[in-house]
């Protein structure tokens, strides 16, 4: 009884915090002046601008997905299956853009390629105009989005490659060389991972607000935000958000009916057999040069530009003066958010893995839908629902931001925990039950100790995602509750470059800090 009650309460809390605001927002947009009306949607369909926005959004998401897969799969393969020198270092470098807000990369490239950027300083004003034209538009937005989301495809490719049954590749090696085996056997075997990477890249680009907003490329998430924040037009903002919701649902349906059917035989993670390593032979130096150039362009250059721009003690002093409160709030909110997400992730992951309730797939579908939904849309929904005098204690304080994090990122915690629970045999829990332990005792004395590593991983990943969040926080943060990414974003218009660069560097450092901490204490929690 206690078990069912706890699990049902978790689901209802999650539904209440996450999906109810979105549904209420959608329903409200169907009523104009107290009566049912499709006026908001009529306006939407008749406007040419809306079709342009839809086109821009889909083309940006499609092109980003295509290029990240095109680059990410070979890179992931090089890092995990070959003897490329420094492959671990390369993998770490490529992953850095994922843990920092993507607009920081846009800022770095602006300092580099803007009209008065480094390129203009070196090559002259004309060159600056050309590079600036490229940056502020489709090309620049696409370039930054690719560098920001490339790590997703790289990580998934590496993860799925580790799960491929080595004997399947060896069976192919008896007949053909490695390139043929990789093309005909290994890549088809990891195709679900590649498809998942493509799907995540597509939906994250769809919902990206920071980069297109900074680089002035018109897409739906920016439009929705502008209508909400500039014109304070809830209904119109909602109507503008609906196409994103519909595209998200279509993409998720494809995932449910296509991707999940493709489950290939693979070995478990941590299998004793080592992965077969492909020797690059005489091509090693060519690959090394190619990867070095790519990592320099996509990661090292923007980071070095920020570092170079911020290289003065006064910039850091001013950055700290202007943002000490935001830094502390960022760390506090991300910590609270990550802790809440661990709790939700623990119980929802348990429900999903053990099929503990009939509602398991419903809760999972809602979590995944909300993760895929642009943060701006969730933010509008939350503001819409909680912006009433009676709920001021939520709307005007920390809970509204935490609710946003829970709504958007519960899927992360749920899926990580659901992947952790299979390592705890059901019989372990049952043995405690037979010994007379109640549900809570089983949770705290058996389950939690056995899945603590998964919980720590969940906390860290959720912490990073909460810390870098812009989409939701920008929409819902109450006065004097801004976080560092939001503070940096709002200061960009009227602050010196070196202060903004220093803020970006601080942001990168506080994101990397807990990950470095994990590296230090890893052996103690193993």
């Amino acid at each position: 009884m206690a078990k069912r009650l706890t699990l049902y309460i978790t689901i209802f809390l999650f539904v209440g915090i996450g999906i109810v605001p979105v549904i209420v927002m959608f329903l409200k947009s169907l009523f104009v002046d107290g009566g049912f009306s499709l006026e908001n949607y009529g306006t939407l369909l008749q406007s040419n601008r809306e079709w342009t926005l839809l086109f821009n959004t889909l083309v940006l998401a499609g092109a980003t997905t295509f290029i990240t897969v095109l680059l990410g799969v070979p890179l992931g393969t090089l890092f995990s299956k070959t003897d490329l020198p420094f492959r671990r270092l390369f993998a770490v470098l490529f992953i850095i853009p994922l843990i920092i807000p993507s607009y920081i990369l846009a800022v770095a490239w602006f300092y580099c390629m803007g009209r008065s950027g480094i390129v203009a300083g070196v090559l002259g004003e004309t060159a600056g105009i050309v590079t600036s034209k490229f940056l502020f538009g489709f090309g620049g937005t696409l370039f930054v989005m690719v560098s920001a989301l490339l790590p997703i495809v790289i990580i998934l490719t590496m993860t799925y490659l580790r799960m491929v049954n080595q004997e399947m590749e060896e069976a192919g090696r008896l007949y053909s060389s490695w390139p043929v085996v990789l093309k005909k056997i290994t890549l088809p075997l990891i195709s679900p991972g590649i498809a998942l990477g493509a799907l995540i890249t597509f939906i994250l680009t769809l919902g990206e607000f920071g980069v297109p907003s900074f680089l002035r490329f018109d897409v739906y998430s920016v439009e929705s935000f502008t209508r909400f924040s500039a014109f304070y037009d809830f209904d119109s903002a909602t109507a503008a958000a609906v196409p994103l919701g519909i595209i998200t649902i279509i993409v998720l349906i494809i995932e449910r009916f296509f991707l999940r059917m493709k489950k290939f035989v693979s070995r478990a993670m941590g299998s004793e057999k080592k992965m077969a390593i492909v020797s690059l032979g005489k091509y090693k130096s060519y690959f090394l040069i190619g990867v070095s150039v790519l990592v320099s362009v996509l990661v090292v250059v923007p980071l070095c530009v920020l570092l170079y721009k911020s290289l003065s003690p006064s910039a850091y002093v001013e950055a700290f003066v202007r943002s000490t409160g935001s830094i502390m709030r960022s760390l506090l909110y991300a910590s609270i958010g990550a802790s809440c997400l661990v709790v939700f992730g623990f119980f929802l992951g348990y429900i999903l893995d053990r099929k503990a309730l009939r509602l398991s797939y419903v809760a999972d579908s809602i979590a995944v839908f909300l993760f895929a939904l642009p943060g701006a849309v969730i933010g509008i929904g939350l503001s819409n629902l909680w912006n009433t005098p009676g709920a001021n204690f939520i709307y005007a304080s920390i809970p509204i931001i935490i609710f946003g994090y829970i709504a958007q990122y519960t899927a992360l915690g749920e899926r990580i925990m659901a992947a952790t629970f299979p390592h705890v045999l059901r019989s372990m829990e049952e043995a405690a039950q037979i010994a007379g332990a109640g549900w809570y005792r089983r949770v705290f004395k058996v389950l939690v100790p056995l899945v603590k590593r998964g919980m720590i991983a969940t906390w860290l990943i959720c912490f990073v995602f909460c810390l870098r969040d812009v989409g939701i926080t920008m929409m819902v943060y109450p006065p004097a509750h801004d976080t560092l990414p939001v503070r940096t974003f709002t200061l960009m218009a009227n602050s010196p470059d070196n202060v903004i660069s220093a803020l970006c560097m601080i942001m990168i450092m506080i994101t990397l800090l807990p990950l470095c901490g994990l590296g230090l204490v890893r052996k103690y929690i193993a």
Partner: protein, 261 residues
């Protein structure tokens, strides 16, 4: 079970164990050698998995490598296949040196060996037909010949009706037959089998052992079979190589070992 067998085998007369009396040697000299392993050594992270091993295998033989888990028998098989390379020593297949002192001279794709893996390693994204076709296509064999060879092998393994089935839709025994067909269709010089029946129930194992024997005799192919199962070894082998602690303990015909036991 193995410990008991081991004790009996290893307590045999030293003369026999060390090869002072070895009827196989004289017979071996008369037939053509297809595999010659000379002083092969292999280590992982400085831990030896094969120590100074030498073994000759004649054409058409059915050699079973018998030994407990971790004695290096699978490593030996994978070295013959070319999937790993010896750190020291020499490996000759059909008169050609394929690996010499840590250097791979001929890769697995050119050694003309077929292999049935322990967990079969059927490619789940390909149908039975495509699984079997893969090796032939890579070898650029004409399409008509590919079709003929696949039709023949499907008949030989009695799986004609499962041409378009995916591995996931087949039973363990059926998967086994497809794996065997895939290994044989390229007409390899040597068929390597790495405990292929270990996951099957006893009845099915007996049926498939008979099938393997029939096919090996029909095709007159050299077979090297790795197992830890005594019964399998006695049923299949013309010669048994007993391995223990990373080395060959003895080499005997199946008849001799039965007799001694």
């Amino acid at each position: 079970m193995w410990a008991g067998v081991g004790e009996k085998i290893y307590s045999l007369d030293l003369r026999l164990v060390l090869g002072a009396f070895c009827p196989w040697e004289s017979a071996a000299n008369k037939i053509k050698m297809i595999v010659k392993i000379e002083n092969v050594y292999k280590a992982y992270n400085k831990t030896p998995v094969i120590r100074e091993m030498s073994l000759d295998i004649g054409k058409g033989e059915r050699v079973v490598i018998l030994g407990p888990s971790g004695c290096g028998k699978t490593t030996l098989l994978r070295m013959i296949a070319g999937l790993i390379h010896p750190d020291k020593g020499k490996l000759v297949i059909d008169g050609q040196t394929v690996a010499d002192n840590g250097k791979c001279i001929i890769g697995p794709e050119s050694r003309q060996v077929g292999m049935v893996f322990q967990d079969l390693a059927l490619w789940p994204h390909m149908t039975s037909y495509k699984n079997i076709e893969f090796g032939l296509k890579v070898q650029k064999i004409p399409k008509t010949e590919i079709r003929e060879r696949i039709d023949t092998i499907f008949e030989k393994v009695q799986m004609v009706q499962f041409r378009n089935a995916y591995p996931g839709d087949l039973s363990g025994g059926q998967q086994q037959r497809i794996a065997l067909a895939r290994a044989l269709v390229t007409r390899p010089k040597i068929l390597l089998m790495d405990e292929p029946l270990s996951s099957l129930d006893t009845d099915l194992r007996h049926v498939l052992m008979r099938e393997i024997l029939r096919l090996q005799e029909e095709l007159a192919i050299t077979m090297i079979y790795v197992t830890h199962d005594r019964e399998e070894a006695f049923s299949l082998a013309t010669r048994i190589v007993v391995m223990k602690e990373e080395k060959i303990q003895k080499t005997r015909t199946a008849g001799q070992i039965k007799e001694w036991l």
